[in-house]
């Protein structure tokens, strides 16, 4: 299916409203927000303990990623050559469909009936699980959050915390039902019990799966390796136990050298979870050697375009620097009012508001670039300095250039623009609007219903103006 095919981004407005009213979701988000924000703040502050400076590191990380994005084709060729030399296979995929075809083909050629998966957002872009199931291959998500989401028949609502939208009670109910046991009363101290329960189920899958599918946080050009940054250990199992390991990543995930990778690792975990380093950092190169006892017999890289190549050299090239830490959504007031599902496609939050229109069609996600207060809390924390609000602005401009905005909006803006350029008329009208608003107000000076802007007064009053404009009063004062 094409990327646009499974996007629900056109229904953002309705989905957002539903999510704002979803009490369970709001409870879950309320809990998560201070954790994300607080942990990152601590992690960044702790850089000083190691004699490191955030601004300097950020500039260095930005530069590394910029260097790659500027010459993406060259770095990809180097990576492909080194990866092949180490014994891995390298395949290319234009879009999600091609990812699915490659994976199913590899599975069939290797007699795979079950694939264990470590987190991969690319496989969400491709809707790989659906394709595998349809082909008779059982996909099993092994990241705890992804496992929960898969059991629930949902999609991840956050790129590093896929089940952040779920409350403890919801997970308990889900596990009881799907693991065939009685429902129990749970508090947060029981979370390790639930984790152990999932672990026991997953262990069997790790041992029986013939294929492991993972993403990669980075591809290292000089060594032809995939770098995996994880916390749960499932990534190690997925990438070493099954006989076949398939790595699915976007073509923009390249970094030139291991040293560059080390630099990026200073900021990636800190930006994501506040950790100075994740529990596991794996560098996966080639296949199991003749005298080695661990690792896959076959390693296949699937390097995916799915809209990325078109961004290189465009107004949106900055977006290709993204290292998927999630800090933008973790600091977004809009994301934390809605959760990720409202955004309608794979990537939520500010990064999604930019990527979804670019990867699924600008005309298929008209609300997303507007779903921002412009606060720039995202841009301020981005470890690779992506100007997310500016990119959203650029998308809004393209919507205008292509006449994709509603006619009523275009007419209103044009009328307002004409007035703003004709001060005499503008004054005349604002004087009347000021009086009208005053007239609408109740005794306490508040407007409770404003027909012109029902979106405002549904949840707020509008403090009424005194009835005369500044320019009117100022002119009177000067005459006096």
């Amino acid at each position: 299916m094409s990327a646009a095919g499974h996007s629900q981004a056109m229904f953002f407005q309705a989905r957002a409203t539903a999510q704002v009213r979803n009490k369970d979701l709001q409870k879950a988000l309320e809990k998560a927000k201070p954790l994300f924000v607080g942990k990152r703040a601590k992690g960044i502050a702790a850089l000083a303990d190691d004699g490191l400076d955030f601004a300097q590191l950020r500039a260095a990380c930005t530069e590394i990623r910029r260097r790659v994005v500027d010459d993406l084709d060259v770095w990809l060729e180097i990576f492909e050559e080194r990866a092949r030399a180490s014994g891995a296979e390298v395949l290319w995929a234009r879009d999600g469909d091609e990812i699915c075809r490659h994976v199913i083909d590899i599975a069939r050629r290797n007699g795979v009936s079950k694939a264990v998966k470590s987190k991969s957002m690319l496989s969400e872009e491709a809707q790989l699980n659906e394709a595998l199931s349809a082909a008779g291959i059982e996909p099993v998500e092994t990241d705890l959050g992804e496992y929960i989401v898969q059991l629930a028949g949902e999609t991840p609502s956050h790129i590093i915390a896929p089940a952040v939208h779920k409350t403890l009670a919801e997970v308990e109910a889900l596990f009881a039902e799907r693991h065939g046991r009685a429902l129990q009363e749970r508090t947060s101290v029981d979370i390790p019990l639930l984790t152990a329960e999932a672990r026991a189920v997953l262990r069997q899958h790790f041992l029986s799966a013939e294929m492991g599918i993972s993403g990669a946080n980075f591809l290292i050009a000089e060594s032809g390796s995939a770098a995996l940054v994880t916390n749960e250990g499932n990534g190690r199992m997925v990438t070493t136990l099954p006989k076949v390991h398939v790595v699915i990543t976007g073509i923009e995930k390249i970094v030139p050298t291991l040293e560059d990778f080390a630099t990026l690792m200073r900021l990636l975990p800190r930006s994501a979870t506040g950790q100075s380093i994740s529990n596991y950092v794996s560098l996966l190169t080639g296949t199991r050697g003749v005298d080695e006892t661990e690792g896959p017999e076959k390693t296949v890289f699937i390097l995916v375009d799915n809209g990325r190549a078109a961004l290189a050299g465009s107004d949106f090239a900055d977006m290709l620097r993204c290292i998927r830490c999630g800090a933008c959504m973790n600091h977004c007031p809009v994301y934390f009012s809605l959760g990720g599902h409202a955004y309608g496609w794979v990537y939520p939050g500010p990064m999604g508001a930019v990527l979804t229109p670019l990867y699924t069609g600008i005309e298929n996600a008209l609300d997303l670039p507007h779903a921002s207060t412009g606060c720039n809390q995202c841009g301020a924390v981005c470890p690779v300095n992506i100007p997310l609000p500016s990119l959203m602005h650029r998308l809004r401009e393209i919507q205008n250039e292509r006449a994709l905005r509603p006619l009523s909006e275009r007419i209103a803006l044009r009328a307002w623009g004409w007035l703003a350029q004709h001060p005499g008329m503008y004054r005349w009208l604002t004087r009347r609007v000021a009086r009208y608003l005053r007239w609408l107000a109740d005794d306490s000076g508040r407007i409770r219903v404003l027909g012109l802007a029902p979106g405002w007064t549904a949840g707020r009053d509008l403090p009424a103006p005194p009835g005369k404009t500044f320019h009117e009063l100022y002119a009177a004062r000067k005459r006096a």
């Binding site: 301020a380 949840g459 005369k468 100022y474």
Partner: protein
């Protein structure tokens, strides 16, 4: 020194007292203040909506109206951000206007910045017995680096205590058209701001952007808080508080 006051369209329409408070502060400090006629809007709504052509036309209009003054002072962080940071970007490729945009940007100041950085004001006419909490609006804070200036001015006032709210740097959910387009989302965001304000327990919340203040006041009142005053920094500093 001769300076222009750009009152902003919101102040003009919704809270003219903020314009007069700004005048009082600036004139009180010995400035010769002109309110250039013909000023309407800095063009933010057009820029926000993605209408670059209109935003650029309005930028040219504002530049032509304001460029003949030594300084331009604006009682709003977001309008100042538009003039300082966005105008030069909108006109970067225009051989004539690029330099004019940059020249104006360099001389345009948000009110509290101007009072502190240019006038080096240490005393303000206002007096306020009670506690206030300060909301950092986004464009002022992240676009212009306004953080200490308003607090220093507030701290200079006798009888006033500053009680910081948790998450004072968090967005209030206004965002211009966003507040109307995504009313419920905006309300959910401002709800969190209202809770922060309540946690500060201050008599008044003070800010430097009228859009944020209308949003915050509107939500506080709807939630049933009739007590917490919502004040523009200019009003507090000038001592021209609404009754």
């Amino acid at each position: 020194m001769r300076l222009a006051l750009f009152v902003t369209c919101l102040v003009d329409l919704m809270r003219p007292e903020v314009g007069f408070a700004s005048l009082r502060l600036l004139e009180g400090a010995g400035c010769d203040v002109v309110v250039p006629p013909g000023q309407t809007c800095c063009g933010q709504p057009a820029f926000g909506a993605g209408n670059r052509v209109l935003a650029t036309d309005l930028a040219r209009q504002a530049i032509a109206q304001l460029e003949d003054y030594e300084y331009v002072v604006i009682p709003s962080g977001s309008c100042t951000d538009q003039i300082r940071n966005v105008y030069p970007q909108l006109l970067a490729d225009d051989p004539i206007w690029a330099a004019r945009a940059q020249a104006l940007a360099a001389r345009s100041y948000e009110l509290s910045c101007f009072l502190v950085e240019v006038l080096k004001l240490e005393q303000v006419p206002g007096a306020l017995a009670g506690s206030v909490t300060y909301h950092d609006s986004c464009k002022g804070l992240r676009g212009l680096g306004i953080k200490a200036q308003p607090r220093n001015l507030l701290a200079s006032m006798r009888g006033m205590t500053l009680s910081e709210m948790p998450d004072c740097e968090e967005c209030c959910g206004f965002g211009g058209a966003f507040a109307v387009r995504f009313g419920e989302v905006s309300t959910a965001i401002v709800d969190r701001k209202c809770e922060s304000i309540a946690a500060a327990g201050a008599d008044a919340v003070v800010g430097a952007d009228l859009g944020c203040l209308l949003n915050i006041e509107g939500r506080l009142r709807r939630r049933g808080d009739q007590r917490t005053q919502v004040l523009h920094l200019a009003e507090v500093l000038a001592g021209t508080l609404p009754k």
